[in-house]
């Protein structure tokens, strides 16, 4: 225990004595926080669409069919009540739910205004805006069809009193009602920065010792492998947790974003996530001889994993093969978790599958790295 503490203490002293590292740890998150708070994405496809159909009519099915064949929406299954919808949003299964009230088709048949609700998750304000405008277009197409149908009926009735019905979608936003894009980006930033900093710090601190030769002194000491591994990861786990708190505070002060869910659930999930990044960092250090190699390998791992984990572009927009790969990326689950906790107040009950995935991936990569991490020179 004392031996591990000694390793941890030394690592923290070294990290904080290095001005570049301090900059990386504390300045980078703040700059990113501000930049990302204002960033937006465009061109959204494959929005996950849930259907809550209390009418179960030809007309309601027709509307859904039009939405799906447009290519902008994917059928994400049915929702049967309020609780079901909330669950679908919090677990990330749906981005959008179409609600057809029981009188939807009756209103159409009577030639009246038929209301339907479009309820958006809203965490991603940009996606929500785009989804609403797509839905408005689909309603226009549906209205054109109804118009044509009724005009021919009108002709048949020789100008009798036929009224033309109209479907009228009413948008509603579930979370993030102010529709700030920062609300979506800031929690994501926690995942981004944690990945970047903990992988880099871990892999570089070990390769730095390889370069300077001090690794030989550690290998030749009676330290056990597991002690070295803990001594080389605990400090960066601590720094990672500090970063999480820093971003939470920054988000609150700069963008006025408060966590809806439980902060301890968030910290616990961050810990699960750190198992993954520290494991990856450790693994990279076992395949790199120099700090430069470690940095390069880290970037090669980090960049694509950020791109395809749904940080800026929704995963559902990507080719199916890429989506499969993304199932192996801890960041994908972590994004769902932190956005869920931050914006929707989701907790264990809903996010446990993602947490479990993080745990399994994390333990696996950590064990793989630990097995490769031998107390020998190669």
């Amino acid at each position: 225990m004392r031996r591990i503490l000694e390793l941890v203490r030394k690592e923290l002293i070294q990290t904080f004595r290095d001005k570049r590292m301090v900059g990386l740890i504390f300045v980078a998150p703040v700059i990113q926080l501000i930049m990302l708070g204002y960033a937006v994405t465009t061109d959204v496809k494959h929005i996950a669409l849930g259907v809550w159909d209390n009418d179960r009519s030809f007309e309601s099915r027709e509307f859904v069919r039009k939405a799906v064949i447009s290519g902008y929406f994917d059928d994400a299954g049915v929702v049967v009540n309020d609780a079901g919808m909330e669950h679908a949003f919090k677990s990330g299964r749906c981005d959008l739910v179409l609600y057809f009230p029981p009188d939807y088709s009756r209103n159409i048949k009577r030639g009246e205004k038929a209301k339907l609700e479009i309820i958006a998750d809203g965490s991603d304000s940009n996606l929500t805006n785009i989804a609403f405008s797509y839905m408005a277009q689909i309603a226009n197409i549906e209205n054109a069809r109804l118009m044509k149908e009724n005009v021919s009926k009108m002709k048949a009735a020789r100008g009798g009193n036929i009224m033309i019905p109209q479907v009228s979608p009413e948008p509603r936003v579930m979370y993030n009602p102010e529709m700030k894009s920062a609300n979506y980006m800031i929690p994501g930033e926690i995942g981004l920065i944690l990945t970047l900093i903990t992988i880099l710090l871990t892999s570089m601190s070990i390769t730095k010792e390889k370069e300077s030769g001090t690794i030989e002194q550690i290998i030749v000491s009676p330290l056990r492998s597991y002690e070295v591994i803990l001594g080389k990861t605990i400090p960066f786990a601590l720094i990672g947790m500090m970063i999480v708190l820093l971003i939470i505070t920054g988000g609150l002060l700069v963008f006025n974003i408060a966590i809806k869910g439980n902060i301890f659930t968030l910290l616990f999930s961050s810990f699960l996530f750190l198992l993954n990044t520290l494991g990856v960092g450790l693994f990279i250090s076992t395949i790199s001889k120099t700090q430069q190699q470690a940095m390069l390998s880290s970037v090669i791992f980090i960049l694509p994993s950020i791109m395809i984990s749904g940080f800026a572009f929704p995963v559902s927009n990507m080719p199916i093969e890429v989506q499969w790969i993304s199932y192996l990326l801890p960041l994908r689950y972590f994004f769902t978790i932190i956005r869920g906790i931050f914006l929707k107040g989701a907790g264990f009950a809903i996010l446990w599958p993602e947490m479990l995935a993080l745990f399994i991936l994390g333990v696996t990569v950590f064990i793989l790295a630990a097995l490769r991490f031998r107390k020998k020179l190669s």
Partner: protein, 242 residues
């Protein structure tokens, strides 16, 4: 005589290249054994195998009775190792380095404290406890590095080119320290490429291209080969191999 280090037919190949090529020797307890050879001869590779941090290709070796192949962790608890580059953390202070090495060798806080003042005294670093190690000059770094390597009072000490790049006065002082350690019963295995340091060793082995080309006390080597200069002997032996 009790043997502290014993090596038989030790081989290390990197790929097909034999860095250490079938060497055998032994070192008695309390002896200063010098391993002399030019750069690339295989000195560091030998030392690393003996310290249990590099796997050998074949052959057997024991340190304090523990096998380098099957009991490297046991070896680690009885040896001290000072690696080629004076492995110290440049971004830690003198005191932080000492504390760290004490800590990873399992010394308690009190033990570390006692040893710390001994090391500071020995290395002449009193008053420089909070200096950054990276800013120390060669001689100080060398002695601090030695201090850290023996902080836990090991039975055998492996020193890999401890005098390389250090001024002549510091080298002399260093050898006096080493002799003192050996007198107190510590076995010393030391590598060097300075021929004049042979005089400080009880016994030496000359190594070239992974092979031991001559071994014995300085006097033995001189009489056996009828030379009065070991440097000449080494040059001749190497010529003979070409």
């Amino acid at each position: 005589m009790q043997m502290s280090v014993q090596v038989n037919n030790l081989v290390k190949r990197f790929g097909s290249f034999p860095a250490v090529d079938d060497i055998s020797f032994s070192v008695a307890k309390g002896e200063i054994f010098g391993f002399i050879g030019p750069n690339g001869a295989g000195k560091s590779t030998t030392i690393r195998m003996l310290c249990g941090i590099l796997d050998q290709t074949s052959g057997v070796g024991t340190v304090e009775g523990f096998s380098i192949k099957t009991e490297p962790e046991k070896i680690k608890s009885v040896i001290g190792y000072m690696s080629q580059k004076f492995s110290l953390y440049d971004d830690l202070t003198v005191e932080e380095n000492i504390n760290f090495y004490g800590g990873i060798h399992g010394l308690s806080r009190d033990e570390t404290k006692t040893r710390r003042s001994w090391i500071l005294e020995m290395a002449g670093l009193r008053g420089k406890e909070s200096n950054m190690t990276g800013a120390l000059s060669g001689g100080w770094r060398q002695r601090l590095s030695l201090g850290c390597a023996i902080i836990h009072g090991p039975k055998v000490v492996f020193l890999d080119e401890p005098t390389a790049g250090v001024d002549p006065i510091s080298r002399r002082e260093f050898w006096l320290l080493i002799r003192g350690l050996a007198k107190a019963g510590t076995t010393i295995f030391v590598t060097t490429h300075y021929m004049d340091e042979v005089e400080f060793c009880d016994r030496i082995a000359m190594i070239y291209r992974g092979k031991i080309v001559a071994m014995g006390t300085s006097a033995e080597l001189k009489t056996a080969n009828k030379v009065d200069n070991l440097e000449m002997l080494f040059v001749n032996l190497i010529r003979g191999m070409e």
